[in-house]
Amino acid sequence: MSTFIQAVVAGIAAGAVYGLLGAGFSLAYKTTGIINFAHGDIAMLGAYVTFSVFGWGAPLFVAALAGVVAGGLAGAVMERGVLRPLYKRPLVAGILATVGVSVVLQSVIQLVWGSLPLTLPSLASSTPWRIGSVAFSPAQAVLLAVTIIVSTALIFAVDRTRVGRGMRACAQDSGVVVLFGISPERLYLTAFAIAGMLAGLAGALITPTIGLTPSRGVSLSVLGFAAAVLGGLGSVTGAIVGGIAIAVLRNLASVYVSAGYADAVAYLAIVLVLLVRVRGLLGDDLETVRSV
């Protein structure tokens, strides 16, 4: 039993970051309909910037903020420079353009920081507390706390604020919202900037655990995308739940089924969920209605 609890607890901590990644995915998708495969690379960029700023002597917390800002900037630049001409084009054009951005970001990271793996210290100690026979470290606690705070703020912003409402409306009918004084273009920019900031944050949070390598972004993108889809594309809450579900599932699968096939088990579960519930776990009705 304690093994089970330990696997779940560790999964929740790891999944929180996937959830953050997924939330950024969902937000960008919700407003623009574009799936951003450079999301993980923006996260890595944020992490590398965090690394550099930390290296210049700034406190880790400040460095992480710099990473968040860098992520936001990258998201905004990408929206302005690459995606803007593509909104009226088929889905696949936007997606492939983000793949192009991913390639560009990877090579920029490699040119600036080199390919040698780098590391970043944790925001908090990784010496674990012991609760019964379950270990849980301050670093994991910080990670979880940041995720909860950020996602709560994000959910509030999307649900309750004027701009959040605009984003949701824009996702459903970008043609009509201009009649209310909403500029979809500005909202797209905002969405990608916020998504980029979320990615940067996720990058700064996850690198103490995984270290920095230029091409790590791809696997982060895949994780974030899976989390967002499982949770229901477009739902921030869903993305967080989806991320945690994936991590817990992987952990349980590697303990009780097979470590090598843990990912396959997780994917199988996702496919099954999608077959039963087309809109994902928490996706809104709109997802079943929307055709691309």
Binding site: A10, L116, L118, S219, R250, V255
Partner: protein
């Protein structure tokens, strides 16, 4: 549905085209032309130059740079041109890169740092009759009368000694985590068989993916199996991350690890968690006069600490340059290869590098190291003279 006529038509296209080929006959490409002028030779460096392992390419270039400064840049009067292939640490890319650089008839090859790449290259080397120097640890890299010499100890050799060392420590039941890379598989296969020979039970032998970000599931699995020791195999970052996460999840048993746990990157990733982890390696900066001297030189020249990979690559560079030097005027893949097999050159991890019939180092070094206060220190020397 596509009509049957269409498919029949397609078959006709195929048949007719084949007939066209038959009439034309096939001209065979001339393979491996001569090496060119007596003075200029090409040396191929097939390494990952892009992607996550691109630093190996950088190490290889640095290794040759240093070796040429120390041994002269024109061994035996041959001006050396380097042809580079990007193996990306992906075996099929290595085949592709190998095909492309071998088409330029190099006299020797610096084999890729990733075992899988080199394994994939082996048939090409044979076909082109070119020899390579490798730093791979995978046991199947070398073979009797093969085309590869290895400037590092084989994992088969290292792990036989390491397994006995682990058994002597009183370990009865061990859990192993390793990645699915070619190196990881080879490393663990040899370790497992040696451990079992020494009466150590391998309770868990789980894998993780190179791209994984979280190993908690696997580590919890070790906890569940109640092992009394853990062995972590992983490339630099993973080696450190595994140890750190295991400590975080309170897997309170002695840890053993492969050579990468002795790299600086691993230490940076894991910090103090690595203290006390015992790893088997061929190189420790502080284990002999030669290694200390080499470390100082490398550090000063390239502004970074050398690790077992950069040392081994340097040794390979030395072997290749020495072999070219010994060849005399007629340097071809075949003649340089002959010289590589019987080279006798000063090494860093071993006093003198010389190879046995299958291309493995004579008296290869096996050191047990650990981390203490941010420094890798020698615990024991299981093989190899200073």
């Amino acid at each position: 549905m596509v009509s049957h006529i269409k498919w029949a038509g397609a078959a006709m296209v195929g048949a007719a085209a084949l007939a066209a080929v038959g009439c034309g006959g096939s001209d065979k490409t001339s393979s491996a032309s001569d090496a060119g002028s007596a003075n200029a030779v090409k040396v191929a460096i097939v390494q990952p130059y892009s992607g996550d392992s691109a630093y190996y390419g950088e190490y290889a270039d640095q290794a040759f740079k240093l070796a040429m400064e120390e041994l002269g840049s024109t061994p035996g009067g041959h001006a050396i041109t380097f042809v580079r292939g990007d193996s990306k640490c992906v075996p099929t890319a290595a085949v592709q890169a190998g095909n492309q650089v071998l088409a330029q008839s190099p006299v020797a090859v610096m084999a890729p740092a990733c075992s899988g790449d080199t394994l994939a290259l082996k048939p090409l080397l044979k076909a082109r009759n070119v020899s390579a120097c490798s730093i791979n640890l995978h046991p199947e890299i070398t073979e009797a009368n093969g085309k590869i010499v290895r400037a590092a100890p084989s994992d088969a050799f290292t792990n036989e000694l390491f397994a006995k060392y682990i058994a002597d420590k009183g370990v009865k039941k061990i859990g192993i985590l390793h990645d699915t890379s070619g190196y990881g598989q080879g490393n663990v296969d040899t370790l497992v068989s040696s451990l079992e020979k020494n009466g150590v039970k391998v309770a868990v032998n789980a894998t993780y993916d190179f791209a994984d970000t979280d190993y908690s599931g696997q580590i919890v699995k070790l906890k569940k199996a109640k092992v009394d020791a853990a062995y972590f195999e992983g490339y630099d970052l993973a080696a450190g991350n595994l140890v750190k996460q295991a400590k975080q999840l309170q897997l309170d048993v002695p840890y053993y690890a492969n050579t990468n746990a002795g790299n600086d990157t691993a230490e940076k990733a894991a910090g103090k968690s690595l203290d006390g982890v015992l790893f088997a390696t061929a190189f420790l900066a502080d284990s002999s006069d030669a290694t200390r001297k080499f470390t100082a030189t490398w550090q000063q020249k390239f502004n970074q600490a050398p690790n077992s990979d950069s040392v081994d690559l340097y040794q390979c560079a030395v072997v290749i340059l020495k072999a070219i030097e010994a060849t005399g005027k007629n340097a071809t893949g075949a003649t340089v290869g002959e010289q590589m097999a019987k080279v006798s050159a000063p090494g860093v991890t071993v006093g003198t590098m010389a190879f046995d019939a299958s291309g493995d180092l004579n008296d290869p070094p096996v050191l047990i190291g650990t981390w203490k206060d941010g420094k890798a220190v020698l615990v024991d020397r299981l093989s190899g003279a200073e």
